[in-house]
Symmetry: C2
Subunit: 134 residues, 2 copies
Amino acid sequence: MEKLERILVEHKIRVTSIRLMVLKHIMAQNRAFTLADMEASLETVERSTLFRTLTLFLLHGILHEVDNGCGSKLYCLCAGNEQGVFLNHVHFTCYRCGRTYCIKDIDAMPALTPKGFAVEEVSCVMKGICPDCQ
Amino acid sequence: MEKLERILVEHKIRVTSIRLMVLKHIMAQNRAFTLADMEASLETVERSTLFRTLTLFLLHGILHEVDNGCGSKLYCLCAGNEQGVFLNHVHFTCYRCGRTYCIKDIDAMPALTPKGFAVEEVSCVMKGICPDCQ
DNA sequence: TATTTCGTGCAAGCGGGTTGCAAAAAAACT
DNA sequence: AGTTTTTTTGCAACCCGCTTGCACGAAATA
């Protein structure tokens, strides 16, 4: 069995040619992408199908969601198979190229947490200039 | 001159009755709100007028914007007149009541910053249960 | 093979934000 | 005051991104 197929099967997702195409494309780039990005890359596949595929991948922990406030949802590959480990990692969006990176080795939790608030989740997006654009 | 009027004038915004209503409403609650919230509270005022008013307030530093990933833009009163001071403060969204708070005394910058990335801005939204809902 | 379940494409809808335009209101200028 | 100019407001319409209903075809199961 191919590597891609194995990933789907391990996540209890049925294998279809479209799902393989989508997964292959996701794995070929290591950054966050939008539904529109995916649509542009896989022109032959219907938007709604891509949407449902990405939603499925989200649900099964292959992808996670990022919101950098730019109006479009971003999807990002979960590293390894260790689901949940990177729940609170930082993302970085570059002003110049617009790419969004997962900064996996940095925890999003600020040094202090607010008194009286029970924090369960942290979403932290930095913006600035990425190494490629400097 | 009334307090509210003074605030507008200080920010070089012309005083109108709608703007006073909006500002009064904003100041009456100390949490972030959406355009839809405002629309519901000030039923007599047109959505687009509210939108333009909020945009104006944003532009003149009376409000700042928060994105907590829930699909709607949030607006939040800037504390004091010290614009820019709270650029990187943390926000907190409660799972139960949905309210979003400005946590003004905590800096959003994580302990570490990613190597090679020039960070200019940080958006940090925590989610969990607020003191009122515990 | 017959039956059920699942995947896909199409079209349509929805929510939130935004804009063009014309009327009303306010300000500036005789 | 009366006239002209600028702003503000409401209405309608639009845009964009996301999401869903439905019908058909493919795949799994009996």
